[in-house]
Amino acid sequence: MDISQSFAAAIGLILGGDPAFLAIVGLSLTVTLSAVAIAAFIGLPLGALLALARFPGRGAVIVLVNALMGLPPVVAGLLVFLLLSRSGPLGPLGLLFTPTAMVLAQTLLVLPIVIAITRQLTEDLHGEYREHLASIGLTGRSAIPTLLWDGRFALATAILAGFGRASAEVGAVLIVGGNIAGYTRTMTTAIALETSKGDLPLALGLGIVLILLTLAINAVTYGASRVGARFAG
């Protein structure tokens, strides 16, 4: 197989403006960004809370969250699958093989990353701020907003790590989404499909587009956080 064929395929996909392809890209971004947003919404405060709270078993919780960063996507997918299947506890919602199910599965994958990195960053920052914050009356949970806000540019890394994991994985979205053409087909499941159809240049072409997208999102976030960090010191 010729690599140049793949680049040609990638360029053709990008310039061609094929609505089916654009829908796949759109769905990939919608699912992954939704999962990352939900995971951030839950994970940032939870990670900060874990950084500040002292309770028996805290060490075990930290180890567990760190370990869950390595949760295999297929396992996350399987859990959500069993939950959402018509024969499962949430079956009546009819969410299996829908984008919502994919968002749910990816949220499960991203959440431990956001919590673990937020916990670490917040704990370090709190070490630096603790006395001043206590001096002006911000002890315990009341310190969380300050820490999250001041750590925002470092925390962007946590969000990006989560985005990277979600946008790259295929196992979870394939199981709970079903790779339905025009409905739950994402970049990664399309790549898996084209590979199984033996159309390797197209599969790699899709892969190139995915990498370019990820690159663009990382570059924008990195640039924004650099500029922001310069303002914030």
């Binding site: 630096e128 701020y129 006395e131 001043h132 914050l133 206590a134 001096s135 002006i136 009356g137 911000l138 009341s142 300050t146 001041d150 750590g151 540019f153 960090a229 310069r230 303002f231 914030a232 010191g233």
Partner: protein
């Protein structure tokens, strides 16, 4: 000052603090009346910083009592004592935002916060640096901002833990002038230092700490003229005291 109620005097009785099985503050007691600049002096590890933190409420004593004229140094729901640290804690924000943040933590209205922050920046010569990221300012500027931030909270008592130990002589002189001005306005200052020259220049009263004990409590003039204890004498003479 507009205050009708004072948190002073502060009465500290038989203060004890332990960490790692060692008694680091051992039976310290003194009374702090309104006004003046009190210097806590003594070698490293004598318990100066810990005593300040205990008084400010950052640490909890194992025994003994810290009793303000108003409970916990709070009047009408507002804490009336503030603290400035050896290494200024600068939030990752502009100079102005650092002050606004502390004022917000005190629950002040937006209008009041803006007014007070502007006043504090002006008062401490930071108006031109207001939008500069605090962490990119020089050490002297940062410590000035830390004092301005504390001042904006309108404390009756300001605790300072070796505020100039990391500054060059020029910045140190600026800080000292500010502290003298605050004292002149009636604020009560309590500062830890191990710089004898600084203690001589600023102190109205000296508390000499040694190994967690209060070695001497005297008027500055009296203390520097002739300390009562051999440890204090040796310390003034520049000898190492253990």
């Amino acid at each position: 000052m507009r205050d009708t109620l004072s948190v002073l005097p502060l009465t500290v009785t038989d203060l004890v603090f332990e960490a790692g099985g060692r008694r680091l503050v051992d039976g310290i007691g003194f009374t702090l009346p309104q006004g003046g600049l009190t210097v806590l002096i003594g070698p490293n590890g004598s318990g100066k910083s810990l005593t300040l933190r205990l008084c400010h409420g950052l640490l909890t004593p194992h025994s003994g009592s810290i009793s303000w004229a108003a409970a916990d140094g709070i009047v009408s729901g507002v804490k009336r004592h503030a603290m400035v640290f050896q290494k200024p804690v600068m939030l990752r924000r502009s100079a102005r935002a650092n002050i606004l943040h502390a004022l917000a933590a005190f629950g002040l209205s937006r209008g009041e916060r803006t007014a007070r922050a502007a006043e504090a920046l002006e008062r401490f010569g930071l108006a031109g640096l207001a939008d500069r990221p605090a962490r990119l300012m020089s050490g002297g500027e940062q410590q000035r901002l830390a004092i301005a931030r504390a001042w904006a909270l309108r404390p009756q008592v300001l605790f300072l833990d070796e505020p100039t130990s990391q500054l060059d002589p020029g910045a140190t002189r600026q800080i000292e002038e500010m502290l003298m001005a605050l004292r002149g306005e009636g604020m009560t200052l309590v500062m830890a230092t191990h710089d004898m020259g600084q203690a001589r220049r600023l102190a109205d009263r000296v508390l000499f700490l040694h190994r967690g004990h209060l070695g001497e409590d005297a008027e500055a003039a009296t203390f520097f003229a002739g300390p009562a204890s051999t440890e204090a004498r040796a310390f003034i003479a520049g000898d190492l005291v253990w």
